[in-house]
Amino acid sequence: MRRNGCPIGITRGVIFLALIFTLSIGSAMASECVRCHTKKDKLKAITDALPKKVKSSEISGQG
């Protein structure tokens, strides 16, 4: 039902869509994975503390 000067249905619809959009973006952006994997300094600190991968020093020539 439409009231004078106030299209309630449309307003509700816009709010609902905005809510869905915010939640969907939010769920991907909110995880701990994203918190860590988007921060250069944090990743740097973590990877610097990890043991370095060791490769054989006997490798020579081309593959």
Partner: protein, 376 residues
């Protein structure tokens, strides 16, 4: 290839979250525990490349038409490696078991996957996002294709050896300009080597039209001589690959003998798709001692296959030494693969050119050259 710093390998860009793939939750593809805050706990059950070995589970939801077959493509299966090795190997099951172990430790890292062509660098160069986890429809020539196909094809194409390939140096074409979606196809049943796959052909862009036929040498040689024989430069040949583990138990492979040369031989795989009799041959790294670390005398049937194989060097030039003068090939023994060039004569019998079969020198070439200004 220079390594990417560890943090950079796993740094996700903000742009990624603005793409369709970025709208999905990380765990939908990678698993793990998105609520955990500690590194070990959050990565428990996490799969770095969820597109290997089965691409249909993750990519197949939206890209079914591609993932339907790609799991059987040579990039995924490396399906020609084992049959090729076993053809040269002893039939003893215990020996084969040790060969399999050696291949597992040293050879099978070279596979690729959807992710390793469209998101990150391949495993063989220890991965790492190319563009902060953005998905690229086109694989990156420097970061992805030549990460694996670098020491021969990449170096030739980019001009790190020789003068490069005109398709790159003049036209800036990257790998995907010629190698397209056929790379997603399943390998043909009984595929013997990479040339059994669907590959681009020169004729697609250079058809036998008026301009092509204006060049006299095209009509003389077409169908008999592979395009690369006249239009390639020298290329790398390897001959001494061997694998093992060092004193710390770390696996290695060594391939120390690489020689640049140019050898024309007899096409070992003359068929409808490769009709030319005269083709370029490249020494492959196979050698009898390849598996010595795992088992002695593994390749007792080494002579079953040539060690010089059909090749298509990626260093094409319009004008080359060979096509400047008929007698740069005709009668030029050193350009042809003869018995004195090979270590394993029996293995290469099929591809060797007997001295008497080398196209004879054209005696009146000087007079001919005076009459005809140029081939070009």
């Amino acid at each position: 290839m220079a390594q990417v710093e560890p943090w950079k390998k796993v740094l996700v860009s903000q742009e990624f979250f603005e793409t369709e793939h970025g709208e999905m939750d990380c765990q939908d593809c990678h698993g793990g525990n998105p609520e955990a805050t500690g590194m070990a706990e959050s990565h428990q059950g996490m799969v770095a490349d969820p597109t290997f070995p089965d691409p249909s589970q993750i990519c197949g939801d939206c890209h079914e038409e591609i993932t339907e077959n790609i799991g059987q493509s040579l990039h995924y299966t490396q399906g020609t490696y084992r049959p090729m090795v076993l053809e040269r190997a002893s039939q003893n099951p215990q020996v084969i078991e040790k060969i399999d172990l050696g291949m597992k430790n040293h050879c099978y890292d070279c596979h690729s996957s959807c992710g390793q062509c469209h998101v990150s660098r391949p495993d063989s160069v220890e991965g790492g996002f190319v563009l902060g986890h953005l998905f690229s429809k086109k694989s990156d020539m420097a970061e992805q294709c030549t990460a694996c196909h670098g020491s021969r094809i990449g170096n030739e194409y980019l001009g790190r050896t020789g003068s490069g390939d005109v398709h790159f140096t003049e036209k800036q074409m990257d790998c995907t300009a010629c190698h397209g979606s056929e790379l997603h196809n399943a390998a043909r049943a009984g595929a013997h080597d990479r040339y059994d796959a669907d590959l681009p052909r020169c004729e697609k862009c250079h058809p036998s039209d008026e301009a092509y036929n204006k060049v006299e040498q095209h009509s003389v040689h077409a169908g008999k001589v592979q395009c690369q024989v006249c239009h390639s430069q020298k290329y790398a040949n390897c001959s001494a690959c061997h694998i093992g583990k060092d004193s710390k138990g770390l696996p290695y492979y060594k391939n120390p003998k690489t020689v640049e040369s140019f050898k024309i031989g007899i096409n070992p795989r003359q068929d409808e798709n490769h009709p030319a009799k005269w083709v370029l041959l490249r020494r492959v790294p196979a050698n009898q001692n390849l598996f010595d670390y795992y088992v002695k005398d593994a390749l007792t049937n080494f002579d079953a296959l040539p060690t010089w194989k059909y090749t298509t060097p990626h260093n094409i030039q319009r004008k080359t030494f060979q096509n400047r003068d008929c007698n740069n090939c005709h009668g030029k023994t050193k350009l042809f693969l003869t018995a004195k060039d090979v270590a394993f004569t029996n293995a290469n019998r099929k591809v060797l050119v007997a001295k008497e079969n080398i196209p004879a020198k054209i005696e009146n070439e000087k007079e001919k050259s005076k009459k005809k200004k140029s081939y070009f």
